[in-house]
């Protein structure tokens, strides 16, 4: 199907859903008090951006997200490579990694707030704990899946241990990292917003919490919509980076579009 037509249909679907929402609330099938009114929601978003009132909050949330994403991905990459290449470390840490990964980490948010205060770092840390494991497991499995023939060939061509890491393991792992980054960017967002929601003085999560406190359901929806749009933009950036960095992959161009 033509890409333009598809985009139009996607926009049409969105409009239809909004229209449906509007109709259901207007005919009082759904109570406006609990479900909000789409026109007011959109107007709230418009006001936020027109007055610039949301920008500092959005800036903080995005900063937390980007920091959590960057730090979590880097740590996941480093630890994934280390554990995949060191049999002893992998065996030693295996039960601990499983334990920490199965722990519901969102529950740690209050502890992080106690440790790091109500500023951005407690949110970043929460995001890091969520992002880390996604990237870590992809890299760990990615390195173990490196083709033994490619590895043997690089060794025969004279690659030293460090050169193998840089020219074989790392590029091979990159492909696996990217497959996990789409999930990771969402998780970084979850970490930032949940962290704000549980205790903060700034950020979109904080705005939502405030609105909820006075049963202003329209503002809650407005906040959720703004966050969703940001998540889509971030995911798009990951896709663009993926296309650039993984040009060598067969079928990558069509898979990414």
């Amino acid at each position: 199907m033509n890409r333009g037509v598809l985009a139009l249909m996607q926009a049409g679907l969105l409009l239809t859903l909004f229209a449906l929402w509007h109709l259901l609330v207007k005919t009082e099938v759904l109570p406006a008090f609990f479900f909000g009114e789409p026109l007011i929601v959109l107007q709230r978003i418009w006001n936020w951006f027109a007055t610039g009132k949301i920008l500092p909050h959005l800036g903080i949330t995005l900063l937390e997200t980007v920091l959590a994403f960057a730090i979590g991905t880097t740590l996941g990459l480093v630890f994934g490579l280390w554990l995949a290449l060191s049999d002893l470390a992998a065996k030693l840490l295996d039960p601990y990694i499983t334990a920490v990964n199965s722990m519901p980490r969102v529950i740690l948010a209050p502890i992080f707030a106690v440790w790091l205060g109500l500023g951005i770092w407690s949110k970043v840390l929460l995001g890091v704990t969520l992002v880390f494991f996604i990237v870590f497991f992809s890299v760990y499995h990615g390195v173990r899946e490196v083709s033994p023939t490619v590895l043997a060939n690089a060794r025969m061509l004279g690659a030293s241990g460090r050169q193998l890491l840089r020219h074989v393991y790392l590029p091979s792992a990159t492909a696996w990292v990217f497959s996990s980054l789409h999930a990771a960017v969402g998780m970084a967002f979850v970490g930032a917003v949940v962290g704000e929601y549980l205790g903060s003085a700034k950020g979109v999560g904080y705005l939502i919490l405030q609105a909820e406190g006075v049963f202003d359901i329209n503002t809650v929806f407005a906040g959720v919509l703004v966050l969703t749009a940001c998540a889509l933009v971030l995911d798009r950036i990951v896709t663009l980076a993926e296309r650039r960095l993984l040009r060598w992959r067969p079928g990558n161009v069509s898979a990414a579009s």
Binding site: S147, T149, V150, A152, N153, A154, R155, M156, L157, G158, A159, S160, Q163, H167, V168, P171, S172, T174, A175, R247, W248, R249, P250
Partner: protein, 267 residues
Amino acid sequence: MKLALELTGVTCTFAARGGDGAAYTALSGVDLRVGEGEFVAVVGPTGCGKSTLLNVAAGLLKPAAGTVTVFGESLAGINRRSGYLFQTDALMPWRSALENVTAGLQFRGVGAQDARDQANDWLKRVGLEAHGHKYPHELSGGMKKRVALAQTLILDPKMLLMDEPFSALDVQTRSLMGNELLALWSQDRKSVVFVTHDLEEAIALSDRVVVMSAGPASRPIGKFPIDLPRPRDVAEIRLTPHFVELHTLIWSALRDEVQKAHAHAME
């Protein structure tokens, strides 16, 4: 004749999968000598440990017993004097053809521009000067083999170890690659160990054919000098009477082993 490679009493065993059961002995007491500039083909039925033999010669695998001597020196670690052509795809998929060819030079610390110039030269020699920017998945099977050949030969190894390098190619491409290999080889006569299960290919290319017994615990059971004149055309030489004589002679030795291997596989 001076020796390029000498294997004496090489035995290789692998632990059985799953832990229980006896260890599998792939090679047992293998003696193999390859002279300088000699093209030796090793043939044997599937599963006779031919690849294991090459991995030992390459230093990728340490034998359980026996010694490996390369140009008079005992081998420790990777065999730096050898180049290895693998049966399956060994190119780095994230590097273009050109970058794959420069890899070995890069690992040795050769400057980027110098490495690119040499690699371009080698791509031209294997007929791929127009395809340097392509990634491996954009190349055909024959082109990938040419890149692999350039990638190995650019380092000017004194010895080539080849593990059924052309087995995945179609028949025509295969003869073409065989002729190109012989043309490149005749320029400086490296020592070659060419492993294959295809007896015709072995005779057409080599100076000497070594027949391995069926596994487990396989070892060479016959050596046949190939006194066909060079230069050869690997497709046409198959039709000459002397080729047929040699084929008949070696096949009589190989046939029993192939049947044994087949019976073993059916068990």
